[in-house]
Symmetry: C2
C-alpha cells in the first residue's frame, strides 16, 4: 500500500518525519512511502541515520506551508509546497491510499476539502482525534476544530462518521455516542445543542446515549463524543493544558521537596511514564479527517518519529479497512431515511 | 457582618455546612451567621460536635430545593425552602451582606436574579470561579454556566465585572483579560468570539491582552478569562475531568506497580496532597455570582466544612470590599462611553 507523507510539515521536519517513515516501512515492509519535500535534506536524513531506503521514495518539493500562511490561500498559491504536492500525488496516483501530515492543521483541512473533496452527502468533514480514557480503549472526539459554527445536521453527520471510525479503530459493534453539553439532563444546553439533542436522540442511525459533560469525556462511558469544532477544541485543549499543568506541579513539588521526594519520584518513574504516555494521545497516532474521499491523518505539529510512525500505520489500517467507503455508505443510508429530512430543515 | 447560609444545600448538608459555619465564626468572631434550614437537625449538629453557638443563629425552613427541581419553578413555589428563605432574609434584613449556598447551581442563579436583582446596566450576571494557575494567584473564569447563549456585549460586561473581582481578590491593579477562543490569532473563532474580540480589543475599560486558548487557562498568563457560559462550562469541566482522570491513573499505576511503587507513592504523599489541593479549586472557596445587588457565593455541591468555611470568609471579604458597588460603578462608567454604544448594537 502506498502512503504519501508531507515530509516538511511539523516542528521537527524533515528529520523526525523521515525517521518515522523509515520506522513504518521497517514495521511493515508491504508499505511504500512517498516522502514529499526538500529532496536533498530528506536523503541526508536517510543517509546520516543509516536507514534503509527500501520502501521509501522521495518527490522533491521546493516550498513549505507554515502556520503563518493563510490556509486557503496557501493551498491555492503555494503549488510547489510539500503539502500541495502531497495532495496532488494522493489524487493523481491511483495506488496512493492515504496522506499523513504534521503541518498546519488549517492548511491540511483546506487542502483536504479543496483537493480531495467531500464524500457525497457529508455536510462538513470533521477532525477526529482519539483521546485516552480510563477504560480499555479511547474515545473519538469529533469535531475538534474544522467547523467552528455548526448546524445540528452537521453534528448528526459527525456522529455517523465518528461511529464508523470507532467501529473500525476499536473493533466494536455499536459505539455509544454522547453529545458534548453543559449538563447531562435532556433540557440542558444552548440553542444548538438542544436542537442537536433532538436530532441525535430521534435517529436509529447511531447509538445515542445522551449528553456528555466535558468532565466525562475521558471516563470511558462514551466511544464517540460529538461537538461543534469550537467546543470540541475547547474541551480538547483544556484537557491538554490541565494534564500539562498537573505534571508540572508534580515535577515542581518533587524538586522543591528534598531528597525524600526525589527518591519517591525515582521509584515512581515507571508509573509517571505510563500516565504521561497514556495522556499524550498524540504519540499513539494522529487525528483523522473524516468525510473526505481519501484517508487523511493529521499528526501533531510537535510529532517525533514514534508518533509519525504510528500515524502512518494508522492511515494504512484505515485505508485497508476502507473507512471512506464505510462513511459513504452510512451517510447515504441515513440521508435516505425520514429523520434526515427533518434534520436538513434545521 | 451578617452572612446568610443555606444550611440544607449540598450533598453533605446540613452537617458539613453547619460545621463550616462554626469554623468561620471561630476564625473571625465579628461574623454573625444565619443558618437557614431544618432547625432541629442544625441544632443537633451543633450540639453533637460541641460547637459554640456564639455567632450562629438558626432560622427554621421546612423544605429543600434539590437538583431535580426546575430552578425557576422551585424559587417561585418552594417558599418554605432553605434557599428561598435565605434569599428573603438577605433581601429584607439590612444587615445581611452576603449569602452562601452549596445547593443547586441553577436554583441559586435563578434566585439571585429573581430575588436579588441585577445591578443596573449589567446585561447578564455571570458565575465566576477562581481556577488555580502555575503562577502566584489564580485566574477568574467568567462565565461558567449562567448564560449559555451570549451576545458580545455580555462578554464585555463579564470582562468588566471579572476584572473588578480579580482586583479585589488578587490585589492587582490591571488584570490581564483573555477571551477564550480556539486559537490565539486575531482572526480565530466562531461568529460570537470574532465579534467579542473586536469589542474587547477596542475598549479602554479593561486590559484586554488577546485570545486565550483553553490550553493556557491555567498558565498564569491571564488574570481573567471571559467566555460564554457554555464554553466556560466545557473548559472548566474538561479541566476537572482531566485532573481526576490523571490522579486515578497515577493511583491505579501505584496499586498495580508492586512494593516499589507503593513506597515511592508514600514518599511523595505530601507532593500529591499539595497538587490535589491546588487543583481542587473548590476547597479554596466558591464561585461568585457577579452582577447582582448582593454578594452571592456558590460553593461546590460536594463541599465539606473546610470549603464552606472558605466560601463564607470569601463572601465576607467581598462584602467588606464592596464588590457590588465596584461593579456598579465600573459598568456605569463603561456604559457612558462610546464603545458601549457600538457594543449594544451587536
Amino acid at each position: 500500500m502506498k502512503i504519501v507523507v508531507d515530509a516538511m510539515g511539523g516542528d521537527l521536519a524533515p528529520e523526525q518525519i523521515v525517521l518515522g517513515a523509515a520506522d513504518a516501512v521497517k514495521a511493515d515492509n508491504s508499505l511504500e512511502i512517498v516522502l514529499v519535500g526538500a529532496k536533498e535534506r530528506i536523503e541526508d536524513v536517510i543517509k546520516a541515520n543509516g536507514c534503509s531506503a527500501d520502501g521509501l521514495s522521495v518527490v522533491d518539493a521546493a516550498d513549505v506551508i507554515t502556520n503563518d500562511d493563510s490556509p486557503t490561500m496557501a493551498i491555492k498559491t503555494k503549488k510547489e509546497s510539500s503539502l500541495v504536492k502531497a495532495f496532488d500525488i494522493l489524487m493523481h496516483d491511483e495506488d496512493a491510499a492515504a496522506m499523513v501530515s504534521a503541518g498546519s492543521t488549517g492548511a491540511v483541512l483546506a487542502g483536504s476539502v479543496m483537493k480531495v473533496r467531500r464524500i457525497k452527502g457529508v455536510s462538513r468533514p470533521a477532525l477526529a482525534p482519539i483521546l485516552p480514557t480510563l477504560k480499555e480503549h479511547g474515545v473519538v472526539l469529533c469535531d475538534c476544530g474544522a467547523n467552528v459554527d455548526c448546524k445540528p445536521l452537521y453534528l448528526m453527520h459527525f456522529a455517523i462518521m465518528a461511529s464508523g471510525y470507532a467501529q473500525l479503530m476499536f473493533g466494536i459493534q455499536n459505539p455509544r455516542v454522547g453529545l458534548l453539553n453543559n449538563g447531562v439532563e435532556e433540557h440542558k444546553g444552548n440553542e444548538q445543542t438542544k436542537q442537536a439533542f433532538e436530532l441525535l436522540s430521534g435517529s436509529d442511525a447511531i447509538n445515542f446515549v445522551g449528553n456528555c459533560e466535558a468532565r466525562d469525556i475521558l471516563s470511558g462511558n462514551f466511544d464517540v463524543v460529538v461537538a461543534d469544532g469550537f467546543n470540541g477544541n475547547i474541551a480538547l485543549k483544556s484537557a491538554e493544558g490541565t494534564a500539562e499543568a498537573m505534571l508540572k506541579l508534580i515535577k515542581d513539588g518533587v524538586y522543591s521537596g528534598g531528597l525524600k521526594s526525589k527518591i519517591g519520584a525515582l521509584m515512581l518513574k515507571g508509573v509517571f511514564a505510563d500516565v504521561k504516555h497514556k495522556m499524550d494521545y498524540n504519540s499513539n497516532g494522529g487525528a483523522c479527517f473524516l468525510g473526505v474521499g481519501k484517508v487523511i491523518v493529521k499528526s501533531h505539529g510537535a510529532s517525533k518519529r514514534k508518533s509519525i510512525c504510528a500515524s502512518i500505520l494508522q492511515a494504512q489500517e484505515l485505508a485497508q479497512k476502507d473507512i471512506c467507503k464505510k462513511i459513504s455508505e452510512d451517510i447515504s443510508k441515513y440521508t435516505e431515511t425520514a429523520d434526515a429530512v427533518a434534520g436538513s430543515d434545521q
